[in-house]
């Protein structure tokens, strides 16, 4: 599977008796959006943490760009080009939108140990930050304090910060959550475009969005992937219907 950007191999993780990851294997290929769906408590967050770093699997490995990154820190994986957006916005709330974007750009330069030239006067950093803000349509809000942004705008900013890293792959945890219909639609178009730059592993609850966006879908239930396949495969899969979609309908 040399052509996979991201390659998760047989990950196990238990918390006491609870098997949060029970032999998960999945991969992300160039140019695709691979959606990860599953009911609450299926172990999606645990899996994302193990891929992004910050939580080490009990066994199994995570390979990124052909390297074993299983024991690397969050920061080290990020420097390799693994960008992440969060379910609940993780932004520097006291900073302006631009400052958040510049923060991403600083991370991208690989060294934070630059002590004298003001960051907000550094043409290179600013250029990178503005370019990212342009792409998500937040340039006009550059001077706004992040805590004053709307929920949707924060999601956009998350994506923009991820973009400043010039990433090789994205991990996106429910980017649609809390977005209005209009916003979701815009973001859908945007992600369709983005996946050609770097593939996206997408965790999402919004089924319409998933079916519209995903090239492949994996279904996670009780720490196990019960099915992986195209949108059509998953729609047709009986196991998925009972284990997951059925519940959804009933609810």
């Amino acid at each position: 599977m040399a052509d996979s950007i991201l390659d998760v191999r047989d990950i196990h993780k238990s918390f006491g008796a609870l098997k949060a990851s029970d032999g998960i294997t999945l991969d992300l290929k160039p140019g695709e959006i691979h959606a990860l769906i599953g009911p609450n408590g299926a172990g999606k967050s645990t899996l994302i943490k193990q891929i992004a770093g910050g939580l080490n699997p009990d066994s199994g490995s995570v390979h990124f760009m052909g390297r074993d990154v299983s024991t690397m820190s969050v920061a080290a994986r990020a420097r390799l080009g693994l960008a992440r957006t969060f379910q609940i916005s993780a932004l520097a709330m006291g900073y302006t939108v631009l400052e958040n974007a510049v923060l991403g750009a600083v991370g991208e330069t690989g060294s934070v140990f630059r002590f004298f030239k003001p960051a907000m006067k550094d043409a290179d950093l600013l250029g990178r930050a503005y370019a990212a803000l342009d792409r998500v349509g937040l340039r006009d809000q550059a001077g706004v304090i992040t805590s004053e942004l709307s929920h949707g705008q924060r999601r956009q900013l998350e994506v923009a910060v991820a973009l400043t890293l010039a990433p090789k792959a994205f991990l996106m945890d429910e980017p649609m959550a809390g977005m209005g219909a209009e916003g979701s639609k815009e973001l859908t178009t945007f992600l369709q475009d983005l996946k050609h730059e770097a593939p996206i592993l997408l965790v999402e609850h919004d089924m319409d969005a998933v079916f519209a966006l995903a090239d492949r879908i994996s279904v996670l239930v009780y720490g196990k992937i019960i099915a992986t396949g195209s949108v059509a495969d998953i729609r047709a899969n009986a196991d998925v219907r009972t284990a997951y979609l059925g519940e959804e309908d009933a609810a």
């Binding site: 992004a52 770093g53 910050g54 820190s73 969050v74 920061a75 080290a76 990020a78 420097r79 960008a83 992440r84 969060f86 993780a90 932004l91 520097a92 709330m93 006291g94 900073y95 302006t96 631009l98 400052e99 958040n100 510049v102 923060l103 991403g104 600083v106 991370g107 991208e108 330069t109 690989g110 934070v112 140990f113 630059r114 002590f115 004298f116 030239k117 003001p118 960051a119 907000m120 550094d122 950093l125 001077g143 304090i145 910060v161 400043t164 890293l165």
Partner: protein, 328 residues
Amino acid sequence: MIAERHLNAIILAILVVIPAYAVIADEPFTITLATKAVILALAGVGLNFALGQGGLVSFGHAAYFGIGGYAMGILASHAQSYTPLMEVPFVIEGTNSMPVIWLVAVISGGLLALLIGALSLRTQGVYFIMVTLAFGQMLYYFAISWPAYGGEDGLSIYVRNQFPGLNTLVPIQFFGLCFAILLIVLFIVNRLNKSPFGLALMGAHQNEERAKTVGIDVYKMRLVAFAISGAITALAGALFADLNRFVSPVMFDWHTSGQIMVFIILGGVARLFGPIVGASLYILLEHFLGGVSEYWQIYLGAILFFMVLFAKGGIIGRLSKKEQTHGG
């Protein structure tokens, strides 16, 4: 309400005018008080870099203040008694040259902070507060019971150390020297705050997860910030020792750590000039309340308390309108 930079300019002006007036009015003690304010402010500027910018609430900065003080005390006492500091494997002589002492203070403060930080930064929140306190107390008890340099008695240096071209025993000249150092450090810290390093440091303070996910090694970054912070506070310690011509383990005491913290909170956390306002106000209160009553600390306590409750953001936060950011 005025812009923070204007407020800062006013603060600096006051700090210059008061000693200048004192020279004319022949009130040398006022200059001494102003010098003390400047030096303690410098200690606060050091802590503020870790605490305000980096969110690292160190309750043990007395360790660096003290190590700076002892750098001065040890070097100067050896120079005073013409005995070398060490002879094996090579001879190190004492010195009474301020620039050398400062250099030693900054380096030893930085290294100590690097060591303590490397261990303490593994913890967070209250644990960090308390483990830094523990290291401070460790040094305090060490200094008290280590007889070579006076133990609890401390070390007296009879003559202030020398700076080329100045007579440091003249109060206004020593004030000028300390003030110049404060300005230089403020300039450096301001640049640091605005640099990519400062941006990332504050960014990690606001959201650690975010800093990590953009690829920043938060631990290493904070460690460097902590060392810088310790080095600045150590420099202040060396100056403080020279102000008093005396060092003692009290510089290592947890009250000292608390006091430096009080300056910052009084003035305004993460405000460049916060420690200056805080230290000056504290010294004024101490000076004037002391004459009011034997029980003056009750008033001091009450004032501090109301400052915390009702002047959030410190005095600078109260007086200035602009939130400090990296914008512009």
